[in-house]
Amino acid sequence: MDAKSSFTSKPPLGGWQPGITFTAAQIAALNAVADGLIPGGDGFPAPSTTGIVGYFAKYVTPSGTEAKWFPFFAEGEFRARLDAWAKAFVGSTSAGRVALLTALEKDEPGYFARLRDTVYLGYYSRPEVIAAINANLAAGRDYRQTPQPYGYSDNMLDWDKTLIARVQGSYLRTGDVKRVKVEDLGL
């Protein structure tokens, strides 16, 4: 058997540490892209003010390592993208950035989806954004950055017992199971 397994390692939990270092131009490009995807406002910060670049730095696969886990960004190729975007995005108008992102979404939907998803995952993990959710959204007053260690048992409502009291139902006993007519089902 000549086949070889590629299952040889595990992705580091929390991303690669300390993460790659982007150039100033690359940082500006990535911030511009992220701000175009999630504009700040209405009490929520722009991604560029939340350290979104640092999040990407941990989840872009460093050179020399196969990019085989989500978001499948290899360092060399990702840097090249950012360098190209630096020329297009930075200094562009808001409308111009939207046009560039729209074109990317149309031309490379798979790549765009991974980029967008990573921005969403990173942005909604930042403490500044969690604080904004707490401050601005009734559904997120006590939402936390991580599920543990605190959990939410301090604010869980019990069942409405009046609803439970009205529940009706039945089940077939073993001896009551009868043959049904299946011939007309057309299966």
Binding site: F7, L13, M156, L157, D160
Partner: protein, 553 residues
């Protein structure tokens, strides 16, 4: 190759079935060796304390081994993507502990309709009931007694998990329609037990539980099994089960760390490697006298694979529901449409199960149904109206066991030990497509009855409109009534090899319309009782007895 390891019983696989088997046998002093190809998982390997916890669902906590690609995983090719974990605890490492039981009718679907490969179970609900109770006691379940749609069950170890806003909201919908519903039983601690902590409703159940609150096998059965003296060998990947003169004699395994091969000799072998791994191992164990794989003289090993038929239905409402809290997939269930009614155009039935929504990023990413928040100017409004306003209803249907839905070997891909990949073929039956389409409409009615719905999205029928479901792997080495309809007799002895047992979800003849772990584990407890009580009978058998001739349990 070292071959100086001898034991009474060799168990292959340390997941739900293997753990229950190992512990229950060792309670009575039976010497057990268990081989597990994965490692122990440390609490800090869960993602719950990392700010990137939602990202890790796609990486280290990716459920599909073909995407996760851990060294202990093996590739699975084909047209479905089964979701499993390899390690001490098996796939219970990433399950949420939803803990329904099969219902009496589930054991008699052969009598009821017998479509495709549907057979009656060789046992009844009543015969399995006491083992459900033993197993529940081992784990510690949270239950509200009194569900009129199921046989009575004992009080739980702790009170039922709270429903919070999502539970009460959807309960009100079922209530307005006059449909059955009931708070879900979960293998989750709401009262402390052993060294495990009480659930604190953190909401990320499907990433496993660093508190030990969820009844995964690594924190329930294994500590006690090891205290009993079970020799649990991790990173031990079995490549073949050995036989001589028609009996299993043990297994050869590869130490994944050193690469060395070892042989374990045993008087009884139990395989519990899940519905993909078990047929894979049996087929890999092709040898003289077993030309088509072990226990496969009738060609049924790997067949009748079931996943449940499935649809996710996401609903958003105009009020805060805070679905990032509480038990993730097991809030409540409705079994209003569980029983067969052929006037609907199909046999079997389904559960409507209510679940929650995880965190903010998952909400932006479309929750369970790809309803992704738009980027740009519309992002903020969409996110703010969707996050924390969601309830999930998933339609979990019983899929027919079909001969051609099966697991085979694929030598084009191998694991790190050079062993062939499992290959899966699964096609949803027309009956099951109709069932889910009907269920989707009922789920929508329940959400509308709850009132205030603002948005809706669906996966459609899984395996038809998109990827198939893969988290409930069942069938493939089922127990049955004769050597012609199954791989094992009613005590899980393979028809071909009397001292070779199979006790995992592959043993299920049919899949019911509920989560399967409580049932497969109760079956493993029952099989362990048989091995304990009939040890000498089993060792004297040269052929597997028929169900009628087998000694009483």
């Amino acid at each position: 190759m070292s071959s100086n390891i001898k034991t009474d019983v060799l168990v292959i696989g340390a997941g739900a079935g293997g753990a229950a088997m190992s512990k229950r046998l060792s309670d009575n002093g039976i010497k057990v060796v268990c081989l597990e190809q994965g490692p122990w998982m440390h609490q800090m390997e869960h993602a719950h304390l990392y700010d990137g916890w939602e990202m890790e669902r796609l990486r280290a906590w990716q459920w599909a081994p073909s995407l996760r690609q851990f060294p202990e995983d093996y590739p699975v090719t084909g047209n479905a993507m089964p979701q499993m974990m390899n390690g001490v605890g098996g796939s219970t490492l990433h399950y949420a502990g939803a803990w329904p039981r099969f219902k009496p009718v589930d054991f008699r679907r052969g009598t009821e309709h017998g479509l495709e490969g549907t057979i009656d179970w060789p046992i009844s609900y009543e015969e399995l009931e006491q083992y459900y109770e033993i197993n529940d006691s081992e784990l510690g379940v949270a239950r509200l007694t009194g569900d009129p749609s199921n046989p009575s069950a004992p009080e739980g170890w702790g009170p039922v998990c709270k429903g919070h806003k999502v539970g009460n909201k959807m309960a009100s919908g079922f209530d307005r329609l006059g449909w059955h519903w009931w708070p879900a039983t979960n293998a989750v601690l709401t009262r402390a037990k052993d060294k495990r902590m009480v659930c604190n409703d953190c909401g990320f159940c499907l990433g496993g539980c660093p508190r030990g609150s969820i009844g995964s096998a690594d924190v329930t059965y294994w500590p006690k099994a090891i205290a009993n003296g079970v020799d649990l060998r991790t990173n031990a990947r079995v490549e073949t089960i050995t036989t001589k003169n028609g009996l299993a004699t043990g297994a050869v395994y590869v130490d994944r760390i050193t690469g060395a091969r070892h042989e374990v000799k045993a008087r009884i072998v139990v395989v519990a490697a899940n519905s993909i791994g078990t047929p894979r191992l049996l087929l890999m164990s092709e040898q003289k006298g077993h030309a088509d794989g072990l226990a496969n003289s009738n060609g049924l090993v790997g067949t009748h694979l079931m996943f449940h038929s499935w649809a996710f239905e996401d609903y958003w409402f105009n009020e805060p529901l805070e679905g990032f809290k509480g038990p993730e997939p097991g809030v409540l269930y409705s079994q209003q449409f569980y029983d067969t009614d052929v006037s609907r155009g199909f046999v079997n039935g389904f559960s409507l199960q209510v679940g929650t929504a995880l965190g903010a990023a998952n909400s932006a990413l479309g929750t369970n149904t790809g309803n992704v928040a738009p980027w740009g100017a519309g992002h903020r409004g969409f996110f703010n109206s969707h996050f924390g306003h969601h309830a999930l209803v998933y339609v979990q249907g019983e899929d027919l066991p079909i001969l051609s839905n099966r697991v085979t070997l694929d030598a084009n891909e191998v694991d790190t030990s050079g062993l062939p990949a499992a290959h899966v073929h699964y096609k949803l039956h027309e009956n099951d497509r109709r069932l889910i389409e009907f269920g989707r409409v009922r789920a929508r009615e329940a959400a509308e009855a709850a009132g205030g719905m603002t948005d809706y999205a669906s996966t459609g029928v899984c395996a038809v409109n998109g990827p198939g479901p893969g988290w409930h792997m069942m069938g493939t080495c089922r127990i049955g009534n004769t050597p012609e309809d199954s791989v094992c007799n009613k005590y899980h002895q393979t028809w071909d090899v009397p001292n070779l047992f199979i006790t995992d979800a592959s043993s299920l003849p049919t899949g019911a319309a509920v989560n399967p772990t409580s049932t497969l584990q109760a079956m493993a407890v029952r099989a362990a009782e048989y091995i304990k009580n009939r040890h000498s009978d089993i060792l004297s058998q040269r052929t597997t007895p028929s169900n009628a001739d087998a000694p009483e349990l």
